[in-house]
């Protein structure tokens, strides 16, 4: 079996010991790699009822099957743990080079358990795995930490770390590597709860390839396909926010001012078509990405002079921009930089600030409590200020630091009505009132409101994808089975380690030949989708075991009650009836009970124990 190292490294921070276990082809055929491996480690490693911050929680990290190999956009790394934000098995995918580096060190996955006595970091160098003191790094930001560690261990090491937010157990804390983040579901806080500041890896081993020549040919072939597509040019020029104007104007589903509106009329200057030519000084890519959507965004003068980030992503333009009514791109960039440095998910952090701003608008909180003027008109000042307070858990920032669900409970006074989330996670940049299947996906996503577990925004916004055509985004009919299928599709994607921005190019049918060129293993399209189904069912079964059932999946009140007030999606909402119909259809398609529990027959069919 080429391509894989066949080894998983386990580090126990409590005992300070590490151990290695091997796996064979059967393991690969069941879980494939990346998300599959990470989910398997958490699923089998975390005892029932374990609190996310308990030392028994498992933090797993695994590079996808393509990680480390020249497959365009195939360098994604999966992290997984029981999430403190949602109480579910949550994974977060990042584009850092730490996954490939782990493979070069000789491991396909890393499993971290226990809790170190004091601030620590793990240093892995090929066979060596040691736990070192991180007293000097505690309190440092996500750029100082890798710089310090690279000076100590050599510039070629790869570093993943958390910021202050993760140390302070913010439930929206992220993990950072190479200025890229595993942002969602608070996995940075899991790392913080283990007193683990950073993971440093240096690998010098070779990765074997089954058919080297064929792999290089495939790489060139796919690169030509990318470059022939219009989106390659657009994404490379403008980044992921390229379609921001279109989502607003032509689809009317860009959540604005905490989802009170769905068109951001003041969007002109946060649109990449405005800022790309003015602020972007360079393209940035994740490991192995030949379709670089990353932009080095630099502010060279004015109040926010000195800001330099890998961004600004579409999601962040929404969360720190539109969702907060913030039309100032420099302020968005600064808030983005603060999120990165302090180690907070930009989506959750921005949505939480937007939520506080609506409470301010309604007089539920006042400047007396917040200490910052949270009026919409003051967004450019307020957003970065609030983010800084949140990351450091200072003042009102401490109230907001764990996301909208917890903040609403802390604030009370009916604040809950304005907390937009499912399962405790803040939603991404698509107003699902105008895309109902995507609304279902926000509910069924195992990690809470998410655009990437099913990626259903693409089929609904475009109207076609893969084997479907003529998809009506305003209809709730038939969405259940489609969302279930897309979730399986995405699990496969995260397991091979491909970026979801290339899912329209590779599709599932093209994956077997790439997998075979690397590993020599033959898979059919159906076998791969079955692996995807297995991974999703493991997450579903874990969540049901932890007591997260259908009643906990439901959409926030605003989606069900307040229709979109203006724009091309005006008047649309998801009714309670539509929500229930879609959920029923979904459970049936999954072979789960109507409460959202995988049946013993389904688990048996998929070989899940």
């Amino acid at each position: 079996m080429k391509g894989y190292t066949g080894k998983i490294l386990k580090v126990d921070l409590t005992t300070g010991k590490s151990s290695v276990r091997t796996f064979d082809e059967e393991y690969v055929r069941k879980y494939l790699g990346g998300q599959g491996f990470a989910v398997e480690l958490v699923y089998h490693g975390v005892p029932k009822g374990t609190d996310a911050f308990d030392p028994k929680n498992v933090l797993a990290m695994a590079g996808g099957a393509f990680d480390g190999f020249p497959v365009g956009t195939g360098g994604k790394v999966a992290w997984a743990a029981k999430s403190p934000a949602t109480g579910t098995l949550a994974e977060s995918i990042m584009g850092g080079s730490i996954g490939p580096e782990l493979k070069h060190a000789g491991y396909d996955a890393l499993e971290i358990v226990g809790k170190a006595e004091g601030p620590s970091y793990i240093f892995i160098e090929d066979d060596k795995a040691e736990i070192n003191d991180a007293g000097d790094l505690w309190g440092q930001d996500t750029r100082v930490v890798p710089e310090t560690l690279k000076k100590r261990h050599g510039w070629d090491v790869k570093v993943a770390c958390i910021g202050v937010a993760g140390e302070k157990l913010s439930k929206i804390a992220s993990i950072d590597c190479d200025d890229r983040q595993a942002g969602r579901a608070g996995l940075g806080a899991v790392m913080g709860s283990k007193n683990l500041k950073a993971i440093v890896i240096r690998g010098t081993r070779d990765l074997t390839v089954h058919e080297p020549k064929k792999l290089l040919n495939l790489a060139l072939q796919y690169q030509k396909i990318y470059e022939a597509a219009g989106s390659w040019v657009e994404d490379t020029k403008y980044g992921t926010g390229e379609f921001l104007g279109w989502v607003n104007k032509d689809r009317g589903v860009f959540p604005t001012r905490n989802w009170q509106e769905s068109v951001f009329n003041e969007r002109d200057k946060i649109d990449p078509y405005y800022w790309a030519t003015r602020y972007v000084t360079k393209n940035k890519a994740c490991f192995a990405c030949t379709k670089p959507c990353g932009k080095l965004f630099e502010v060279k003068e004015g109040k926010f002079k000195g800001v330099a980030i890998d961004g600004i992503e579409y999601e962040t333009l929404y969360s720190l921009g539109g969702a907060c009514g913030n039309p100032d791109v420099e302020s968005v960039a600064r808030a983005n930089e603060l999120c990165d440095l302090l180690g907070m998910d930009t989506i959750s952090a921005g949505v939480t600030v937007g939520f506080a701003m609506e409470l301010f608008q309604r007089g539920i909180v006042t400047e007396k409590e917040t200490g910052v003027n949270l009026a919409w008109a003051d967004a450019p000042d307020a957003v970065p200020k609030m983010i800084e307070l949140m990351g450091n858990r200072k003042g009102f920032g401490d109230v907001l630091a764990d996301g909208v669900k917890v903040a609403a409970i802390r604030i009370g006074k009916g604040a809950e009505r304005y907390a937009i989330h499912t399962k405790g996670m803040e939603p991404p940049a698509y107003d699902v009132r105008g895309m109902k299947g995507h609304g279902l996906a926000y509910m069924t996503s195992t990690r809470g409101a998410c655009h990437l577990r099913a990626g259903f925004y693409a089929p609904e916004l475009v109207g076609k994808f893969w084997k479907w055509e003529g998809i009506d985004r305003f209809s709730a009919v038939g969405k259940g089975p489609m969302v279930a299928t897309m979730e399986n599709f995405m699990c496969v994607y995260d397991s091979v380690g491909l970026c979801k921005f290339s899912r329209g190019f590779y599709l599932i049918a093209k994956l077997p030949e790439v997998i075979e060129a690397i590993t020599g293993l033959k898979f059919t399209e159906d076998e791969l989708l079955k692996i995807g189904e297995r991974i999703h069912n493991m997450k579903g079964n874990f969540n049901a075991r932890e007591g997260v059932l259908r009643k906990d999946w439901l959409l926030p009140q605003r989606i069900l009650e307040d229709p979109i007030p203006e724009g091309v999606s005006k008047g649309h909402k998801i009714s309670v009836e539509e929500m229930n119909t879609m959920l029923d259809d979904y459970m049936k398609a999954r072979g789960w009970t109507s409460d959202g529990v995988p049946t013993p027959e389904k688990l048996n069919e998929l070989g899940i124990d």
Binding site: G68, F69, P70, G72, G75, S97, H104, R143, E147, K151, G154, W155, D178, D179, T204, R205, D206, L207, T208, V209, P212, L215, L216, A219, L220, Q223, Y226, E227, T281, K282, N283, K284, A285, C286, F287, A288, C289, T290, K291, P292, G294, L296, E298, A308, I309, D310
Partner: protein, 151 residues
């Protein structure tokens, strides 16, 4: 003038596709350690394809000058290691300013893939170009290298 690999750091995105393609083309497996070029990512602002320039830049030929057994030679502007004479002492690896002189059983460096460099073919951003080098380009590269903090 002989054509060389010329890096354009402003175009480099840090994807490291060139390293992987280089080592697969030469070794048949992926080895960043043995790739004949390295991509350096020092901070958010700098990604830098460090390629074997065969030292036309400053003309100092560190590896040629420092090899204690004179196993490193230059022909038609291209530096190569005489595999018969190399004693694998590693001096050239230590002195190479671009981190691209490599050592396994013997020392080796970029062979320009016989005139059709794999790294150039696989770079999606034209950050490495196979062309006749311009002197000012090398001044820029040397400046970048000297700015970098090295271990």
């Amino acid at each position: 003038m002989v054509k060389m690999l010329v890096p354009y750091p402003e175009n480099c995105t840090g994807c490291r596709f060139c390293e992987m393609a280089c080592s697969i083309a030469h070794e048949g497996n992926v080895s960043h350690v043995n790739a004949r070029l390295q991509v350096h990512r020092r901070n958010v602002k700098l990604d830098f394809p460090s390629v074997c320039t065969h030292c036309v830049s400053c003309g100092e030929d560190c590896c040629v000058l420092h090899c204690p057994v004179e196993a490193i030679k230059k022909k038609d502007g291209i530096v190569y290691v005489d595999q018969e004479e190399c004693t694998a002492c590693g001096t050239c690896v230590d002195v190479c300013p671009f981190d691209v002189m490599r050592l396994e059983d013997k020392a080796f460096n970029c062979d320009l893939c016989g005139g059709d460099p794999t790294c150039v073919k696989f770079c999606p951003m034209k950050a490495i170009v196979y062309e006749e080098p311009k002197p000012e380009k090398y001044e820029e590269i040397n400046r970048l290298l000297s700015q970098e903090e090295r271990t």
